[in-house]
């Protein structure tokens, strides 16, 4: 069979104390990261956060100042890129324009001395996997963006690498195609079972595709967790702000450790002695409560003035001012049953937040 047997080729990646400086700027500041064997891990961060530098270090394209990278048991920090045996999909695809599709995909096989019939068979197998059977003789400039993406993918896994790296591979595609490719990449990952490190700045893409997400900011690993945990329990204000939409409300802490927002208790600091605390409110977790609703054991209710309501297609976004300086965004569905603000701009409204949806993070809201 041309397909790689599941799980047998996956390798864990162990990164320790990886540091890379450009001048006085730390692109990577003592990063520790474990990628489990066979998992789909996404490096997520804003541009300039160091996520691409980290990926390039794993591929061997840049030389870190210090640190260790292990593939399984093997230290590879000094191994040149052509001996690392990792597949990579580039943002620009980096397909060779002077070779046709089959020659591009056959390139890594040719370099490994796989010739003639076997090479042709494996190329065809890879093309089949990415649903491009019969495209072997095409030239690269005859392909659409999505097709190029698939060829780049086929070329990256055809030689059976133990690790697959992807650098924003879908960023050049339009939204519809991108969303379809996200699902396809996920299927392919499951099929190949290969350890995959994926770089993106698109938080939605990260949430859709990953087993775990590593949030990177300013050259440091900020949080490493499953998508749900990243979204529901952000480690700090940066993660809360970068992933998903949110409104941050400052909390006050009393001597007993109780945290409250405008006199309404929302949580407990426990043993944590931090002084500043922030309530993170996701727009879609808020709901419009009845006029007479009050805070109780179930929900926290805030009162305010409806400033604006914007139709956005699949949902509607309302901005509610709970005082002169603070606006809270509320997102609600546009089905007939959804209970929107019910009023027009300037009306008094009450918005509620279930206590189970309360997200509290230590630290101020400044990001």
């Amino acid at each position: 069979m041309t397909d790689v047997p599941q799980g047998t080729t996956a390798l864990p990646i162990r990164i320790r104390d990886l540091t890379k400086r450009y001048g006085s700027v730390y692109a990577l500041n003592s990063v520790d990261l474990d990628v489990h064997s066979g998992e789909f891990l996404t490096l997520l961060g804003p541009s300039g956060s160091g996520k691409t530098t980290l990926l390039m270090a794993i591929a061997g394209f840049n030389r870190p100042d210090s640190g260790s990278i292990r593939f399984g048991q093997d230290e590879v920090i000094l191994t040149p890129p052509h001996k690392r045996e990792v597949g990579m999909v580039f943002q620009s695809y980096a397909l060779f324009p002077h070779m046709n599709v089959a020659e591009n995909i056959g390139f890594p096989l040719k370099l490994r001395g796989i010739s003639g019939a076997e090479r042709a068979m494996r190329v065809e197998g890879a093309l089949e996997t990415v649903q491009l059977s019969g495209f072997g003789a095409r030239n690269i400039d005859q392909l659409s963006g999505g097709q190029r993406q698939r060829v780049a993918l086929a070329r990256a896994f055809v030689f059976g690498p133990r690790i697959l790296l992807m650098d924003e591979p879908l960023s050049a595609l339009d939204k519809k195609l991108r969303e379809r490719m996200q699902i396809e990449l996920k299927h392919l990952h499951r099929k190949l079972g290969v350890t995959t490190v994926y770089v993106t700045h698109d938080q939605r893409e990260a949430l859709t595709m990953s087993d775990r997400i590593a949030v990177i900011n300013d050259g440091e690993l900020v949080q490493l967790d499953a998508p749900e945990a990243i979204y529901n329990c952000p480690a700090n204000a940066f993660v809360a702000d970068f992933i998903g939409e949110s409104t941050m409300l400052p909390l006050t802490r009393d001597d007993a450790g109780a945290l409250s927002f405008r006199g309404q208790k929302v949580g407990d600091a426990g043993t944590d002695q931090a002084k500043d605390w922030t309530l993170v409110v996701r727009p879609e977790r808020l709901f419009f409560a009845g006029a007479g609703a009050e805070t109780d054991d179930q929900a926290i209710v805030l009162k305010g003035v409806l400033r604006e309501s914007v139709f956005q297609g699949e949902s509607e976004m309302a901005l509610v001012a709970i005082d002169d300086a603070t606006e809270v965004a509320v997102r609600f569905g546009t089905s007939g049953r959804a209970s929107p603000a019910g009023g027009s701009t300037g009306d008094q409204v009450s918005i509620g937040l279930d206590r189970s949806d309360v997200i509290i993070i230590p630290g101020g809201q400044a990001v």
Binding site: G60, H82, V86, G87, A94, F96, P97, F107, P108
Partner: protein, 303 residues
Amino acid sequence: MAHADADGSRSGRHLHEAALKRQHTREQWSILSLVVPAMIVIVLIILIPLSWLFYLSFLGDNGGFSLENYHKMTQYKSYYRIFVTTFQVSMLTTLACIALGYPLAFFLAQLPPRWAGVFMLAVLLPFWTSLLVRTYAWLVLLQKRGILNEFAMQVGLWETPIKLVHNMTGTLIGMAHIMLPFLILPLYNAMRKIDRDMMHAAANLGANPVNAFWRVYFPLSLPGMVAGSLIVFVLCLGFYVTPAVLGGGRVIMVSNQITAILENQFDWGAASALGVVLLVATTFTLYVAARVFKFDAALFGRD
């Protein structure tokens, strides 16, 4: 009016159609008019003289149409030798430029753009010096009692002066020097366009640096190299000054021979015929190159 609006058929009405079409035509003509000065120049200094050249070359002694000028060329072996020399010098100069220019262009393409600009200035500097001055400068350097020979003999590299000039060697040295920028510029441009990811991808897929160069980088730089080589080769075919000065009468190329015919025999017919043959040979070379390499792609880039 109200009736017409209500009618509203999409194909039936042609509001302002004629005026819009006139506007479009006027716009196209005004763009076309931009090339008029260039067209006039081309007609005056290329097409008319060239036609005159062709006409003269077919003019016999008796003033009528005749092939005698061309016939003469086939009679004397010296003409054959002149054409061989011309193509030989052009070919060798082109090869020398590739040997010197490819590594240099590669080096420039690896530099950060700002540093590449500085080095590029060094490459272009000779362009701003007169061709004649540069050629005579080589004469000063290379002659029997020139700087190079004096130095080498003092250091003890060789005993008696080596003949570096007034021969093929001197001609090639001078011509390669003058032609080098013509090769480097298009080659450097082609190399700059090669995406860094290409070499990363090659390495990632298992190619060691040598393999990555020959299988990926070199093929991608080839259009630039072909373009540069063709420019150098074609310019060499008609070159006059450098072979005249540094060849010392031993390297006679077609243009030197044309001058000689005009100065010694004042034979416009023979000189024109020689010019025509060189022009045809050059055109033929370009045609072959265009068929072998994808010429348009080479000159105007791939994308």
